[in-house]
Amino acid sequence: MRSRLRGSAMTLAYERRTISRELTVDVPDRSFTVVIGPNACGKSTLLRALSRLLRPSTGAVLLDGADIHQRPAREVAKTLGLLPQSSVAPDGIGVAELVSRGRYPHQGLLRQWSREDEAVVAESMAATGVADLADRPVAELSGGQRQRVWLAMALAQQTPLLLLDEPTTYLDIAHQIEILDLCARLHEEEGRTLVAVLHDLNQAARYATHLIAMRDGQVVATGPPRTVVTAALVEEVFGLPCRIIDDPETGTPLVVPAARHRTAIGVTA
């Protein structure tokens, strides 16, 4: 299993608060890797480190074997993309224009808008289903549409590796599935390596090819969902007693939390 992107013996800290020590993580090439874990377990911090928003105080993030902080930012941005948790759409910007900003690492002073830029932006908007919104102001879109536009911008960057920080937060269930289906398609059809932080264990188990389970800033388990998502591990990581059944749709593990309040309909005492 080869990994272009690795975190090696990292200490991750904000100011004086240390989140992770000696954290080592491999992202398998061409995988759809999902990082799971309870709130404040350090999964977003890990993603910030991998996307070079947070510099490890010791250890390093290696991209193709070289320290990510030693390479020019623009070069890294051609290989490694990120959909951040929060981005601000500039006042009055339109969809196509926002998506076209994803081309920045490929552009220059005299190469402001090549035919390739144009084609890639059109492709990215088509892939995310926002092509017919091209001329609409981003501010007028719904949350689900807006997230697809941001994803289109990240796609336009054309990076073989794409990191997604909680891409489904603030979306309703239908839009969550829509975004995840889209990610799965990008992974399967375009062969991109994806790394996402997700909150929903069942969604993680359904879409991921590789899981990284974290607790208290440390990796507890890694591997395919079938081996990672077990009743024992969910209890250990989330402190949640549960049963694991097969997802009737996909056959992937499905977490069913144990019923602790026996007042549910149909369960009369």
Binding site: A73, L82, P84, I93, Y104, R111, R115
Partner: protein, 342 residues
């Protein structure tokens, strides 16, 4: 949006509307400039002015245009452009439409240096130098105070407001210490005035604009647009956010300091011009070049107004920009409220 492509792989993207706005501003500035060069105690026609500018004037005309009126005009253009460019950079960097050098304390800093020179009694060259140096030093101070593993917009604004408050206090104290004549001179300087400005005032700003202008516009413009979307997004797209912010902040503070040194802390140009430019071009983003051109036009027009509005009496240009800028902001507020956006 127009795209120009050459076979050599060069591609440029132009916005017709922004181009038209910029061009109109430049032409209007030139037109008002010719008018300004022809008006005064010795009136000249536009044709006479153009003849003199191209080297065909009488010695008297030469003297009046080249030594008396042109330096003032050039100072107005350069100061207006420098303030507006810096204002557009500040507003984008702190992601706050009110992010102007006044809010961030840089103009108060420049004023402190100028007031010290006025109180201890120095030449006007010393005054300009002191204003430039102390303005720049204030910029450094605000950055250092706001720094905490990177500088965030709101932290920069808070640090700026704090420093501005302290400096305003110090400036007030310096004013009360000055003898009456010096205090009057100081207040005139603090208002912002282009009266009696010569080449020595215009040149530093011009040189700074010539060096920093292209660097900011072409070198950092596209990256600055990305920084509007937040540090994380810009960084993900390959912008070295913290380094660029420091460089842009340094360039903008330098422009403001030199502009203040030349004409005093002229009110509201840095705040108003970028807003106006954005409304006119209808383009998202910092609109750096249209802002700079509009700033130049604003200040030239304001200076002409200041010289003519009360016959026989010149107002300091800062009074006019304050009235225009303040009036514009209030109009903007009512317009936005009527449109239900505020």
């Amino acid at each position: 949006m127009i795209v120009v492509r050459t076979p050599g792989g060069i591609s440029l993207r132009l916005r017709p509307r922004a181009l038209a706005v910029g061009l109109t501003c430049a032409l209007l500035t030139l037109a008002v400039g010719v008018l300004a060069l022809g008006s005064g105690d010795y009136p000249m026609s536009a044709a006479d002015v153009l003849r003199t500018l191209t080297g065909g004037g009488t010695p008297a005309e030469e003297f009046i245009v080249h030594e008396l009126r042109l330096p003032r005009l050039v100072t107005a253009i350069a100061v207006g452009a420098a303030l507006a460019l810096a204002g557009a950079v500040f507003q984008t960097l702190v992601r706050n439409p009110l992010g102007s050098p006044d809010l961030l304390g840089f103009t108060q800093g420049a004023a402190t240096g100028a007031l010290v020179v006025i109180v201890i009694g120095g030449t006007s060259t010393m005054l300009s130098g002191a204003a430039a140096v102390s303005g720049f030093a204030t910029g450094l101070l605000v950055y250092v105070i706001a720094w905490r593993r990177g500088v965030h917009g709101y932290r920069l604004v808070l640090a700026g407001i704090g420093v501005a408050a302290i400096l305003t206090g110090i400036n007030g104290w310096l004013l009360t210490r000055a003898p009456l004549m010096d205090a009057a001179r100081a207040v005139l300087w603090l208002t912002g005035s282009l009266d009696g400005r010569g080449w020595i005032h215009a040149l530093p700003v011009l040189i700074a604009l010539a060096l920093l202008g292209p660097a900011v516009l072409a070198g950092a413009g596209p990256a600055l647009r990305l920084m509007e979307m937040g540090d994380d997004s810009a960084s993900a797209l390959g912008v070295p956010v913290e380094r660029l912010r420091l460089a842009l902040l340094g360039a903008a503070v330098l422009l403001v300091s030199l502009a203040s040194a030349a004409a005093g802390p002229v009110n509201f140009v840095a705040l108003t011009a970028p807003h106006l430019a954005r409304r006119l071009t209808r383009a998202p983003g910092p609109n750096l070049l249209p802002s700079a051109l509009l700033g130049a036009l604003l200040l030239v027009v304001a200076d002409q107004t200041a010289q003519r509005v009360i016959p026989g009496h010149q107002l300091p240009v800062g009074v006019v920009t304050g009235l225009i800028g303040g009036g514009y902001l209030i109009w903007l507020l009512t317009a936005e409220r009527r449109a239900g956006r505020l």
